[in-house]
């Protein structure tokens, strides 16, 4: 149960209560602003290597290479925006026929890196006036193998990091205090590299594409340490974001990475089969995940056909996307809107694998006739806070977040309302569908890590403060078939461990229920009880047999068997290979079945902090209950400020 202030706790227990329900909408998903890119420029420049950066004055500096003449072009737009001229380019000499470019900036300094016609020499040109003029070229490095992709960034301590691909190897050289250090090579081995990007955020955070030594095409992240997540000068392991099997004709290339509110990533997915395509995909890290966590929302297609992808730039107010023939921008801040004053009715339902919200807003003056383009639009995040007017003023406790699934305008018979239908994190998870086969081998990832991966694909974070041993250590072979939803995958994972899941805000929390859990709240004594219904019955089974690979264990509910004969349920899981594992599963599933033996519901004045899986004590002398312990298995809250005012909770109950 969420912790409530003493004043809110006192208010919700009073015989006379004045409800306060707060509703806000945000143009974000799970705490991350949604970027809505608007195209500002469409030109005819050919697709080839390119780069972009935004110095401290807000100008946009771009460079590109012509694929026929290999002429290097530069462009600086002093005030980028609608109506600006993005078509004027200045020749800056001739470059390598097959090598990328890199641009980076900080304050007034802009650095351009390119490769000479010999394909081995890396040159640098520097500007100290926001890219208005550049120095003559300086040769930095002569690489052993031809240089293909490059990326550069500047740290807050003004160290310039240049990363470049030479052969199938990544090299790094740092400029500290104006002096370039000797190039260093990474420790990894790949067949090929086809994209490289870097952003600085405590370390040098890289996104790269290529082919591993097994033939898989992949997109990875990797960290070159600067004392953040990795020690200075060390390389992390490669962490996979996307993969394609050898022979599938799918490959990845042209990565671009920026660190803004979260990490934003673009890369090109290229398919060489029938109906071939080369399409940028974009993704972002989760709201509070670190780069090291490598938790990314499912990459989705961007409406562009480009072999060399886009260059992503995080400006002060806008995120910018550039390719030679295009410029886009999107506001970085997420719009928000307070809806509280217009709220007429709200109904929220929360269950163990689903949650829905329906709200009705007044629209008698047509104030919501134009919705759908700002903070309130399809997919927007809704924050519902349940509360009361207390001695300290209006107070709320915020529950799970919801995301808008549909907007419905009602009119007629004196009614004009906007009805919003939304779902909680389970809805986001249900909308995510596996677009290819996902597979983890035995021992590769724990159930917790698998849950985190699946939820991340829907943009959701999983918090496990005290996970069960099974959740944290059991690492089964697991697959998600193409077309299956995240809900199906999550359900399969959650039955493997005793932990239960509930949402608080946009995060999924896991906890292990135990019959010795202390009671979170008391009804029927200090908190009024309006109505109750209590059922004693039997769960789906009172005898459970779990069969693994050559091992079997049973769980019995003897009292129930004594009364009802045995009701058998069998579980088969070939991932269970030891007696301890089948016993653990039998205990988990048997206890879960036993919890379903008790049922019922109570109706109470809204408890602002009540959550799923809380343990409550119910005292209802009329039904013969005195401090009876039950677990909350569902919540239904209804608020209505029209007609007969309503503000109550209906709590579905199960065994502890």
């Amino acid at each position: 149960m969420r912790t409530l202030s003493a004043t809110l706790l006192a208010a919700q227990r009073q015989a006379s209560r004045l409800p306060y329900v707060r509703l806000e909408t945000f143009d974000r998903v799970a705490g991350v602003a949604r970027l809505h890119f608007q195209r500002l420029y469409t030109g005819s420049e050919p697709d080839y290597f390119h780069a972009a950066t935004m110095p401290g004055d807000g100008s946009l500096v771009r460079s590109r290479l012509d694929p026929v003449t290999y002429t290097l072009y530069l462009q600086r737009v002093a005030s980028p925006g609608p109506g600006a001229d993005f078509s004027a380019w200045t020749s800056a000499g001739t470059s390598s026929a097959g090598a990328g470019l890199a641009l980076c900036s900080q304050g007034a300094n802009v650095l351009l890196f390119y490769v000479g016609v010999d394909q081995h020499t890396v040159y640098c040109r520097e500007s100290t006036d926001y890219g208005a003029t550049f120095s003559t070229a300086t040769a930095l490095i002569v690489a052993l193998d031809p240089v293909t992709w490059m990326a550069a960034a500047i740290s807050p301590s003004v160290v310039v990091g240049l990363f470049y691909v030479s052969g199938a190897t990544i090299w790094v050289t740092l400029r500290t205090g104006g002096t370039w250090g000797s190039p260093g090579v990474w420790p990894h081995s790949l067949n090929a590299l086809s994209g490289l990007a870097v952003a600085y955020s405590g370390d040098w955070d890289l996104a790269l594409a290529g082919q591993d030594t097994s033939g898989y095409r992949k997109v990875w992240t990797c960290i070159y340490g600067d004392g953040g997540a990795e020690p200075v000068g060390t390389w992390s392991a490669l962490r996979e974001i996307a993969r394609a099997s050898a022979g599938s004709q799918v490959s990845f290339r042209a990565t671009s990475l920026a660190s803004a509110d979260v990490f934003r990533l673009f890369f090109v997915e290229k398919y060489a089969g029938t109906q071939s395509y080369q399409r940028p995909q974009w993704s972002h890290s989760l709201a509070s995940a670190s780069f090291e966590d490598n938790l990314w929302r499912e990459p989705v297609p961007f409406d562009l056909d480009a072999d060399y992808g886009v260059a992503l730039v995080a400006g002060e107010d806008y995120a910018w996307l550039c390719c030679p023939s295009g410029v886009w921008r999107a506001p970085r801040a997420s719009a928000s809107q307070e809806l509280t004053a217009d709220l007429l009715r709200a109904v929220a339902e929360t269950y163990s694998d689903a949650g829905r919200l329906r709200v009705e807003l007044r629209n008698d003056d047509g104030r919501y006739n134009g919705v759908g383009s700002d903070a309130l639009r399809l997919g927007s995040e809704l924050a519902l806070g349940l509360g009361y007017y207390t001695s300290a003023g209006a107070e709320v406790s915020s529950g799970p977040s919801y995301w808008v699934e549909s907007l419905e305008h009602w009119s007629g018979e004196g009614v004009a309302r906007l009805v919003i239908h939304a779902s909680d994190g389970w809805g986001l998870l249900g909308q995510w569908r596996a677009r290819h086969q996902y597979r983890w081998a035995v021992g590769e990832a724990s159930v917790l890590a698998l849950l985190r991966s699946v939820f991340a694909r829907a943009g959701l974070e999983v918090v496990a403060l005290a996970p069960s041993t099974t959740l944290a250590t059991f690492a089964p072979a697991f697959t998600i078939h193409p077309g299956e939803s995240g809900v199906e995958a999550a359900r399969r994972l959650l039955v493997l461990a005793p932990d239960v899941l509930y949402f608080r805000g946009h995060q999924a929390y896991l906890k292990v229920p135990s019959d010795s859990d202390p009671s979170d709240y008391v009804y029927g004594t200090v908190h009024p009880l309006l109505a109750g219904r209590y059922r004693s019955g039997d769960g789906p089974a009172n005898r459970l047999q779990v069969y693994g690979a050559g091992v079997m264990a049973e769980h019995f509910s003897w009292d129930s068997i004594d009364q009802l004969q045995d009701r058998l349920r069998q579980v088969h899981d070939m991932n269970l290979t030891t007696l301890a594992q089948v016993q653990d599963r039998a205990q988990t599933e048997g206890t879960g079945d036993a919890r379903l033996a008790s049922g019922g519901e109570i109706v109470v004045p809204v408890n602002c902090g009540q959550e799923l899986h809380d343990v409550v004590e119910v005292t209802d002398p009329v039904a013969g209950l005195s401090a009876a312990r039950r677990r909350v298995t569902g919540l239904h809250v209804e608020y209505s400020a029209t007609g007969q005012p309503v503000y109550r909770h209906r709590l579905a109950l199960g065994g502890v």
């Binding site: 022979g247 599938s248 086969q437 697991f478 995958a489 070939m574 991932n575």
Partner: protein
């Protein structure tokens, strides 16, 4: 139990296991799927369609190729 359609991509007659492109998965194939021993190795020709049974839909090791056709 779940029945899936797939395309055979490769077959190892030694382990009697196959790599299968499960329908709907353009880019990633499922490797190491057991093949029914009653299917002759000579019939395991790449690009043939196949049928897979997953006794446990979440466990890729608990499945078997039960038919190849075309």
């Amino acid at each position: 139990m779940e029945l899936k359609r797939g395309i055979l991509k490769s077959f190892d007659a030694g382990t009697y296991k196959a790599t299968i492109q499960v329908a709907g998965s353009l880019s990633v194939w499922l490797e190491g799927v057991a093949v029914a021993r009653n299917i002759p190795a000579g019939e395991m020709v790449p690009e043939r369609a196949c049928a897979l049974v997953f006794f446990d839909p979440g466990n890729p090791q608990d499945g078997v190729v039960i038919a190849v056709y075309t």
